[in-house]
């Protein structure tokens, strides 16, 4: 059926900031949907609060709003734009929930907006567990026995009837937040109360456990003519009990016969029809009892999802792109398959390879959290690997995770430990499984303990068997057949080097001599049945190679691997931009990455895509085959940077800033000398390998000091130490952790303001992209701090110095491309904290705020173009060119995953823990801050009570803030010390007990809803632990909790703005209208 002509303008809602359970996969799907609809001639209005996305690039939609994803901001956008339709199915759970809210509140009806893709009824049936179960039973399908509860008594009674273990699933939460499995009454009591609190409707499902059953997912599509296809089947390696987002998963399903698979397919078709998802994609999950084959339906997502992104990458079938077209009335048979060009999308991809997805966890960031995996998703990212066999894909996947050091089991682990380690799913279970099998544990025992399908265990056994044979030879004596067999199973040179106690280079040498090299095969949706036109490739050890490299000038861009805290979507954004810009300039662009969630691994993004691990071996293989003019390593974060020097040593042409400069900037001593030469101040610092040395260094510097390991991203494992003991303990621990790498000890600048600067340089000229002032004071990791562009409180002389230092640093480091500098300003002195001659986390935010795509410009500089030829909209200030900032403020705020990690303290510090970010734009700083807070999920109150508890140090500065809040009409509640300080300053405040002083205490007030905002600034160790429970309660009851005085001041300005103004919204295209005209940069392709 042809597309609808009654619709002209369609609104798409994005998924907001990156959080656990909702990451860049929705940037991928949303971007695809926007592009698809515009290609069909529709005008697209996009709303998303996340500036780090490709979808919010002004070229992707016609009208782009970076605004909070709440009803009160959506309504004015709808009122201004008047779209005829809303596509709610490509923005994750956030987009779907918001669409439901807009529909139910009558806003859509009021403005005549039609929901397309999924009707309100379909969304509700699919999302409501009981309705969904009814729907399944109506079409003759089996579901787990369960019931909804809204109070603990009913829940306990029900659990008793079902028998333990039981599963608890709160209604309407993301990524299974608040869900768990309880094995006994005691665990159940605690879990149910948590689940009810986590649910926005105070409701949870208590369900028969299907723990240990085989778990499957089908990614399906349906069009308005009722054509139905299964795009991909996915089987979970980890059986039921582990959230599918936390499971290792395999595509296609490996252990079903045709009869069983077709039964599942029939069930999926019946469900999507009964639920009434008329057009688009859905994800349906099933469990199968291994011994009997009983199949039950678990759940459905009536929208594109993390799994559909994975399925798209696994098959080459772009689900979101097609879902968008189906939503406007097209049918599957009239949409051509991009890859074959000649065949339609109305087919089921056939796969002649195996895909393995492995999640990436970061429990080490959240001290005190329990790393056991369950029904609530806790991973922060994932990798996907493609191989011709499961064994090859599994081993490629494991190395794609980029462990900072190879995983090693403690020597001679006792069998009892092994059993425990494999029976309980945790992030390292896959490694323990290999250890257990290597130690001789039988497959049977492994299956009994883990319920992992025997077929998977057998595959691992086969890897172990080959490893055993490898261990009996050396790199010199290994027979060629055996070496080839090992490589065909996916063993890396590094793994082989470990077995043979030699270097990866020696293995590589041996391999080259034997002519054992990978070939590249294509992902083509059809197992080679038709010719493919899209070079989407993976490496394997086979006979035939399908690369067909061109002889056009080409540039390889190394991606950033799995999302993790500190290295997420921002870097993928930069990589995509590099690809877009260089493609526009006539280069053939080649992307290498292994993250299935991202836009960079969309086969539409670059001319050629290699879905490969980002290791030296894998990258070299691609480079040898493609022979590019240049390789870009400065956009993908630390992952490609870690490879830079080795790549260069192997003759790879790295373009942009030389790896040596990058290395220099990371080397404390050499960099310190450079700063001395340039006469640029830095905090006093030193390094230490042993505790005694650390004591001496810290003594010389003076406390407090900042202690951290060298060579890290996202400030892993940093601490601020106020005493010698902490420093010595830290150094002793660091020495235990790994190979001797020095610990860095810096003077910690108290009460300093931190500033981030992103700059562009071409070796001759320097242009400042943006100067961002942090709202939290120095000491909070820059990635966890809110910041504002342009700065609001810096003096002209400080700004002049920042500009001057930035320019001189870029020149001294001979930066070609991007550079990020972090400064701390203490009493008008500007200190350089850090220089990173590469793309930074703030590049997309600055680009969105200024309208100048920094990463694109930088990519062009790396390819040899000059700043002076780019016609950038700059102004000269203090003799330094800077991208002009218009008359508005852009505030970036971080988003934290604390609700996923029970028991973890939420206090901000030098360790980065945020997963995502949002941006608020306004003519007033206060309102921009309030918007950013709201977008980050912190709804600032307009009235009510505010609790204040500040450190002794802050007591001196709290009075003006308290007066402002009082003047705004808030009741102030404070701990005795703070209350006394306020009374002394003439501000009325009610005193309340601290947690350990008596009851009702402050936590009781929080829990009973008597507090609307918390300002709690601890400094120093004592209060740190004392007040942890207040902050935890705030998270649990979703009350804004501000932990620095500077942020509290910003919040007060935000609250004033909220009280005084109505909701103001503005599209990026209007904001940057002048700039776009002046700039004349070619815009991105389609």
């Amino acid at each position: 059926m042809p597309k609808r002509t009654d619709l002209k303008k369609i609104m798409i809602i994005g998924s907001g900031p990156i959080v656990i359970g909702q990451a860049c996969e929705f940037d991928y799907s949303g971007t695809q949907a926007c592009k698809a609809l515009r290609n069909e001639g529709y005008e697209v209005v996009l709303v998303n609060s996340n500036p780090a996305t490709i979808m919010t690039d002004p070229e992707i939609a016609d009208r782009t709003y970076i605004e909070p994803l709440t009803k009160e901001y959506l309504e004015p956008i709808i009122a201004v734009e008047r779209p005829q339709a809303l596509l709610p199915t490509v923005g994750g759970q956030t987009g779907l929930n918001l669409a439901v809210e807009l529909a139910e509140s009558g806003i859509l009806e009021r403005y005549g907006v039609e929901l397309i893709g999924a009707s309100l009824r379909a969304i509700k049936v699919a999302e409501d567990r009981l309705w969904f179960k009814d729907a399944c039973r109506k079409v003759g399908l089996d579901v787990p026995t369960s019931a909804l509860v809204n109070n603990a008594q009913d829940a306990l009674k029900l659990a008793g009837q079902l028998g333990y273990p039981v599963v608890i699933r709160p209604s309407f939460t993301l990524g299974g937040t608040g869900g768990s499995i309880a094995y006994n009454r005691e665990e159940f009591s605690e879990a149910i109360s948590h689940a009810l609190d986590a649910s926005p409707v105070h409701e949870a499902l208590v369900e028969e456990s299907v723990l240990g059953w085989k778990e499957y997912e089908l990614e399906v599509m349906r069009d308005c003519r009722d054509n139905f296809v299964v795009v991909c089947s996915i089987e979970n390696f980890d059986p039921m009990g582990v959230h599918t987002g936390d499971s290792i998963t395999v595509a296609p399903a490996q252990t079903l016969t045709d009869k069983e698979y077709q039964r599942m397919r029939d069930a999926a078709a019946a469900i999507i029809r009964e639920v009434g998802v008329d057009t688009g994609g859905s994800n349906i999950q099933f469990a199968v009892e291994p011994a009997t084959g009983r199949m039950i339906v678990i759940e459905m997502n009536p929208r594109v999802s993390r799994s559909s992104a994975l399925a798209s990458k696994a098959t080459g079938f772009p689900i979101a792109k097609i879902a968008a077209r189906l939503a406007v009335g097209m049918t599957l048979d009239e949409i051509p398959n991009d890859i074959t060009r000649k065949t339609p999308s109305c087919f089921e991809p056939s796969i002649d390879y195996v895909v393995v997805k492995i999640p990436k966890w970061q429990f080490e960031k959240f001290a005190g959290s329990d790393p056991t995996l369950g029904t609530q998703m806790k991973s922060v990212g994932e990798v996907m690997a493609i191989g011709r066999t499961f064994k090859e894909a599994l081993q490629k996947g494991i190395r794609s995770l980029e462990p900072s050091s190879p995983w090693r089991a403690p020597a001679d682990a006792p069998v009892s430990l092994l059993r425990e380690k494999i029976a309980t799913p945790r992030p390292d279970r896959i490694h323990w499984l290999f250890v257990a099998l290597e130690g001789g544990m039988s497959s049977k025992e492994v299956v009994e303990l883990t319920k992992i399908d025997p077929w998977f265990v057998q595959q691992m056994q086969e890897i172990v068997a080959v490893n055993r044979r490898l261990a009996s030879v050396t790199v010199e004596t290994v027979p060629e057949d055996l070496l080839r067999e090992a490589k065909r199973m996916g063993a890396s040179d590094e793994q082989l080097a470990q077995i043979w106690k030699t270097t990866p280079a020696a293995v590589r040498h041996r391999r080259t001599k034997a002519h054992i090299a990978p070939v590249f095969k294509r992902v083509d949706t059809c197992a080679a049945e038709f010719e493919s036109f899209t070079p989407y490739l993976y490496s394997t050890y086979e006979d035939e190679d399908e690369v067909e490299p061109s002889d056009r000038p080409k540039i390889v861009i190394l991606g950033s691997g799995p999302n993790r805290i500190g290295q997420g979507i921002e870097f993928d954004y930069c990589c995509c931009h590099a690809s877009f810009a260089l493609h526009e300039d006539g280069y053939e662009t080649v992307m290498i990455n292994c993250n299935p969630e991202t836009v960079s691994t969309d086969y539409d993004t670059s001319d050629r895509l290699y879905f490969e691990p980002l290791t030296l071996e894998d990258v070299l293989s691609v480079v040898e085959r493609e022979k590019p003019q240049g390789v870009i390593v400065q956009f993908g974060g630390q992952t490609p940077l870690n490879l830079a020097l080795e790549l260069k040593r192997n003759g790879v042409p790295i373009i942009g800033t030389a790896p040596e400069s990058i290395d220099l900037a990371e080397d404390r001593r050499r960099f310190g000398r450079l700063l001395d030469e340039l006469k640029i101040p830095q905090p006093k610092n030193g390094t230490a390998l042993v505790p005694e040395e650390a004591a001496r260094v810290a003594g010389d510097i003076g406390f407090p000091v900042l202690v951290r390991p060298s060579y890290v991203l996202g400030g892993r494992a940093m601490v601020i130490a106020y005493d010698l003991n902490t420093v010595q303990e830290y150094v002793a621990q660091a020495a235990l952790m790994g190979p001797a790498r020095p610990v860095l000890i810096d003077q910690f600048l108290e009460e300093a303001t931190e500033v981030d600067v992103d700059a562009l340089a071409d070796g001759e000229d320097v242009v400042i992209g943006g100067i961002m002032e942090h709202i939290e004071e120095a000491g909070v990791h820059s990635g966890d701090s809110s910041c504002v562009l342009p700065p609001v409180s810096l003096s002209p002389s400080v700004l002049a110095r920042i500009r001057d230092y930035t320019k001189r640093l870029a020149k001294a480091l001979q930066v070609v491309g991007l550079m990020n500098v972090q400064y701390a300003i203490q009493r008008e002195t500007v200190y350089v904290l850090e220089v990173n001659p590469r793309a930074s986390r703030t590049v997309p935010y600055v680009s969105k705020a200024t309208g100048v795509p920094l990463a694109k410009v930088a990519a062009r500089l790396m390819a040899g173009r000059k700043l002076r030829d780019m016609n950038l909209p700059v102004v000269e200030t203090d003799g330094v060119a800077e991208i002009a900032v218009q008359d508005y403020y852009a505030v970036k705020s971080p988003v934290f995953p604390f609700n996923k990690f029970r028991g973890v303290d939420t206090i901000l510090g030098p360790e980065m823990r945020s997963t995502g970010e949002v941006m608020g734009i306004s003519k007033s700083f206060g309102r921009a801050f309030a918007k950013a807070q709201l977008a980050a999920g912190q709804r600032l109150p307009r009235k009510g009570a505010i609790f204040l508890s500040v450190s002794d140090h802050d007591k001196r500065h709290v009075a003006p803030l308290a007066k402002e809040l009082h003047a705004l009409g808030f009741r102030l509640i404070a701990t005795r010390g703070t209350a006394a300080a306020l009374e002394a300053a003439g501000v009325p405040a009610e005193a309340v007990y601290k947690v350990n002083e008596g009851r009702p205490n402050i936590v009781d007030l929080v829990k009973t809803g008597k507090v609307d905002m918390i300002i709690n600034t601890p400094l120093g160790r004592e209060s740190f632990y004392d007040e942890k429970s207040i902050r935890r309660a705030a998270i649990r009851y979703n009350i804004p909790c501000i932990t620095t005085l500077s942020a509290a001041n910003a919040a007060a300005r935000g609250i004033r703005a909220l009280i005084e103004h109505s909701f103001e919204v503005q599209a990026l295209q209007s904001l940057h209208v002048k700039k776009a005209a002046a700039q004349q940069l070619p815009s991105s392709a389609d």
Binding site: G140, D142, D258, I296, D333, Q458
Partner: protein, 333 residues
């Protein structure tokens, strides 16, 4: 996954050899009764594994279907190539009469039930319908897949399977309500005996053909068939039903094809189209009760989207019976 008796489609395995990238050493499935290795060695089928099968597929895609030999005795490649070249091409080869049953037999087994749940068992009685009308179907075996027979039984057919060369008169003597023409190997053109049979059945009894049965119908209606470059194989072919506009995902396995332009459009209507290469996938007679499809609606393996054709067959039979009664009534009057 291994193998099990329920999933067998024939009493014999008809492949000469199995070529795979990797062969699973174990069977892991609750229905498995024999590992794949045991099954294949029981049937004397060699497995060639560790092969770059994708390269093989690409090669066939580029040069067309090939003949081949598998050898393990060290014979030099040049000799093996010569041997392969000496093998007869499928074109012009009549194979149905070689694989058909020797004697007619009755088939009475329906589809197997995969493990039902306790809930299904509780619901079972409520769901079972009381339909009793039975249809008597004669199924021509040109190399029939057993799942066709199971689905016929599921659709209330009493099935008698007859050898390929059974004449129309012999078949009609069994007083069938409908005649089914099966799939099978080989080139349809030399199977002139079957074409004759269909011509003489046409208009006397409802006919439903699948795959080779479809090609034979095409020939019987005056059309021509031709050999495809590398055929259609696999379980993901989109076929559009031109009567409803809906697309079915189908299982296919054929090397020959009916040329739709060769059919007399006055008598024959094209009903199904392959969306990948736009070749013919189905036809029906405009006035007489005959229809056929090129693909495998019985699937097994493959999607069940086209099961409706079996219902269409029994509906055609019912309708024919009814109109037959009317005809007879009119004749009497």
């Amino acid at each position: 996954m291994g193998t099990n008796l329920d999933d067998e489609e024939s009493t014999l395995s008809h492949i000469e050899s199995l070529v795979v990238r990797e062969f699973s050493a174990i069977a892991s499935n609750w229905r498995s009764s024999e590992s794949a290795q045991a099954y294949l060695s029981r049937h004397n089928i060699p497995v060639l594994w560790d092969v770059d099968t994708r390269a093989l597929v690409r090669h066939i895609r580029q040069v067309g279907a090939l003949r081949g030999v598998v050898a393990t005795d060290g014979t030099p490649a040049t000799l093996l190539v010569a041997e392969a070249r000496a093998l007869p091409s499928m074109a012009g080869l009549e194979l149905a009469s070689r694989v058909t049953t020797e004697k007619r037999y009755v088939w009475d087994r329906g589809s197997i039930e995969l493990t039902a749940s306790p809930w299904h068992e509780a619901m079972g009685e409520a769901l079972s319908s009381g339909e009793t009308q039975k249809f008597r179907v004669v199924a021509y075996d040109f190399g029939i897949k057993q799942n066709i027979l199971r689905l016929l039984v599921d659709h209330n057919c009493d099935v008698v399977v007859v050898p390929a060369k059974t004449s129309a008169e012999d078949a009609l003597e069994l007083k069938p309500d409908g005649v089914f023409l099966s799939n099978g190997p080989g080139d349809p053109e030399p199977a002139t005996y079957a074409v004759e049979t269909i011509r003489s059945l046409l208009g006397r009894v409802p006919v439903f053909g699948i795959c080779l049965g479809h090609q034979l119908c095409g020939l019987a209606l005056g059309g021509k068939t031709f050999k495809l470059r590398f055929g259609h194989h696999g379980s993901n072919h989109p076929v559009k039903n031109l009567l409803t506009g809906q697309v079915e995902i189908t299982a296919q396995n054929h090397g020959f094809c009916v040329d739709p332009d060769s059919l007399p459009s006055s008598d024959v209507e094209i009903t199904h189209l392959n969306l990948n290469d736009h070749t013919n996938e189905g036809l029906r007679h405009r006035s007489l009760p005959l229809f056929s499809v090129q693909y495998h609606p019985e699937a097994s393996p493959g999607p069940h989207d086209s099961h409706y054709l079996f219902r269409q067959f029994t509906e055609t039979i019912s309708h024919w019976k009814l109109s037959g009664a009317l005809r007879r009534g009119q004749a009497k009057a």
